[in-house]
């Protein structure tokens, strides 16, 4: 092949700004996580279901023509979709043994159950962050002692502690919250501690320290925001466990006192008659299961969304 003369080549120049340009639009960690969450159809659907159940739990007991303890003695134990020809009462989910409208009761139960689990988990998170944060940030001997305390509490099955507490405290909705919150925080505290311990060693925290940032700034600017995603995932997974505990306690007779209704007490009432009227158990059972399932699936979705390793 002949030699190609140098003069036949032309230098087109280099577009420096283009080659160094960022093709991908810059997003923050949170925006990216949310984007990925909303791509996950199952998680979005679950989030929607949770929001819907929460809103309806507030609205339906208000707009319902019946109260939770109102008895209709002329039609007890009727089946779903009943309409009384005489007084025109409609009972969507039927009535129970005492003639109370199950539709109203199950939504009112949703209110009680969700209130208990949300509040209890909220308290857990606050205690967990403070306890775990102190333990992880200060470290050393204090951390050692604080973690041993958690280990001892964890050694006792939490349901046993909750049952003991429920016996001592006066029956009520807040008692349930207190009893669950008293033992539920250990998991959160451990998680926060582990995360803080790992973050503390990171170069950017050391750099901030070297540049003279005070403890408050390091905690609020660096440590807490980076722990938040783990906390959020844990909240969504802690709520179903709180719902389960409430249902379990109500089921063994330690639930919220009358006139309150909760999903657990409804299921307990349903079990007594369920070989004859199965819908009285199946309805609260479905509510419990669907809500717990939604929270669990949403939690899984959030965990995937927050995981930077899965970022594409």
């Amino acid at each position: 092949m002949d030699r190609i003369e140098k003069g036949r080549f032309e230098w087109v120049g280099a577009n420096v700004s283009e080659s160094e340009g960022i093709t991908r639009p810059s997003t923050s960690y949170w925006r990216d996580a949310m984007k990925r969450l909303f791509k996950n159809k199952i998680a979005v659907f679950c989030l929607f279901a949770i929001v819907l159940i929460s809103i309806l739990a507030v609205i339906i007991p208000i707009v319902s023509p019946y109260t939770i303890s109102e008895q209709h003695l002329t039609h007890t134990n009727i089946s779903m979709g009943f309409k009384d020809p005489v007084d025109g009462h409609i009972h969507l989910f039927g009535t129970d043994t005492l003639g109370r409208d199950i539709f109203t009761r199950v939504w009112s139960g949703a209110r009680t159950s969700l209130f208990i689990s949300f509040t209890a988990v909220f308290i857990n998170v606050i205690i967990g962050i403070i306890y775990g944060g102190i333990s992880g940030y200060i470290g050393g001997m204090l951390d050692n002692i604080m973690m041993r305390i958690i280990e001892i509490i964890n050694g006792i099955p939490y349901l046993i502690i909750v049952i003991l507490l429920m016996m001592v405290l006066p029956a009520g909705v807040m008692t349930m919250v207190i009893a669950y919150a008293a033992v539920g925080w250990t998991g959160m505290a451990r998680l926060v501690r582990g995360q803080i311990m790992a973050l503390k060693q990171q170069d950017y925290v050391v750099a901030a320290k070297v540049m003279g940032a005070d403890t408050k700034r390091i905690i609020f600017k660096h440590l807490i925001p980076n722990t938040l995603s783990i906390i959020i995932v844990n909240i969504t997974l802690a709520i179903p466990s709180a719902i389960f505990t409430e249902a379990f306690l109500s089921f063994i007779g330690l639930g919220v006192p009358l006139p309150h209704a909760s999903w657990g007490t409804l299921a307990n009432d349903g079990v007594k008659v369920f070989q004859i009227y199965p819908s009285q158990l199946i309805i609260p059972a479905l509510y419990i299961s669907i809500t717990m399932l939604s929270f669990n699936l949403l939690g899984d979705g959030l965990r995937d969304a927050f995981d930077p390793k899965l970022r594409r």
Binding site: F251, I252, S289
Partner: protein, 314 residues
């Protein structure tokens, strides 16, 4: 190794002390007097009763008596049944233990199998199905599963076919043990299978699996000899907490299936505010589960050589 065992023993002992103190002070904190009921009790009877149960002595003496009795293995008298709690436990616990151990074994074996299958066939229908089962298992409480099984497999199947496959209640024939054990094991099964899948995926990504593959080992050998044996470690650590959840979960499952185990007594004692019985059963379960945790911890120390290594470095 000695240090590890010693540390575990110390924690178990401390946990028990906390549990004893907890039950003692809670029972004393309870509002009201155990002997004041609907009937009016004469002053002298009350005094005699208080003397009998040692309630007239100062708190510290009561605590000492309580601890002494517990170390002797005496849990006291049930206020409702007026029977020795030890007797009641001796009569009822074998049923609960039988139910619990069946559920635990079923949950562990099926859970591990499901987890392995899901991990090996990652991303396929098998994986999706196993994980769907797992998430349902975590989301549906055991008492609901129990009641549904009872209705569909116990009642409806009998009505449809006329053959009694599964008795609805009781705990005598082999068939009657299937439904309660399954209902109780479902959530633990789910936990085990999820954990096993994660751990198995983690293990399958390790270098020594690649080495085994490049050496030309068959897939079966790699999974059984290299992957499962290592991946099973985290599952062993959760067996303690799972035993706890199975035993406490048995309270409700026993109630649904009318099994004459501890659950029945526990629920009745709660409904009747039979405080001595509640604290007695609580303590018994506490000791039992702390012991189970201890065994699991020690077992882990023996099985996993890395535990020895880490402890040695300290």
């Amino acid at each position: 190794m000695v240090k590890y065992v010693g540390k575990r023993l110390l924690y178990a002992f401390l946990t028990l002390l906390v549990l004893v103190a907890l039950t003692f002070f809670m029972m004393r904190l309870l509002p009201g007097d155990p002997f004041l009921g609907e009937k009016v009790v004469p002053e002298t009877t009350l005094k005699a009763l208080n003397e009998k149960y040692g309630l007239d002595k100062p708190m510290i003496v009561q605590l000492a008596m309580y601890v002494k009795n517990i170390f002797k293995g005496d849990l006291g008298l049930s206020m409702y049944y007026n029977r020795s709690i030890n007797d009641i436990i001796a009569q009822a616990f074998p049923y609960s233990f039988d139910l619990g151990i069946r559920s635990l074994i079923f949950a562990a074996i099926t859970g591990i199998l499901l987890g392995v299958v899901a991990a090996v066939k990652r991303g396929t229908k098998w994986d999706t199905a196993a994980m769907l089962l797992a998430v349902i298992g975590v989301s549906v409480p055991s008492f609901i599963i129990g009641a549904l099984l009872q209705y569909f497999l116990g009642l409806k199947l009998f009505e449809l076919t006329g053959i009694k496959f599964f008795p609805i209640t009781g705990w005598n024939t082999a068939l009657s043990k299937i439904l309660p054990s399954f209902a109780l094991s479902f959530s633990s099964l789910a936990t085990v299978s999820r954990l096993m899948r994660t751990s198995m995926l983690d293990t399958l990504g390790q270098d020594y699996i690649k080495t085994a593959k490049s050496k030309g080992l068959s897939q079966k050998k790699i999974i059984i000899k290299h992957a499962v044996r290592n991946a099973i470690m985290p599952v062993i650590t959760v067996l303690g907490p799972i035993a706890a959840s199975v035993l406490t979960g048995a309270f409700v499952v026993e109630n649904i299936f009318s099994i004459p185990g501890m659950g029945k007594f526990f629920v009745i004692s709660i409904q009747n505010r039979d405080y001595t019985m509640i604290s007695g059963i609580t303590l018994f379960y506490g000791v039992f589960l702390v012991a189970a945790n201890l065994i699991v911890d020690l077992l882990y120390g023996f099985i996993d050589p890395r535990v020895k290594l880490v402890e040695g470095k300290e």
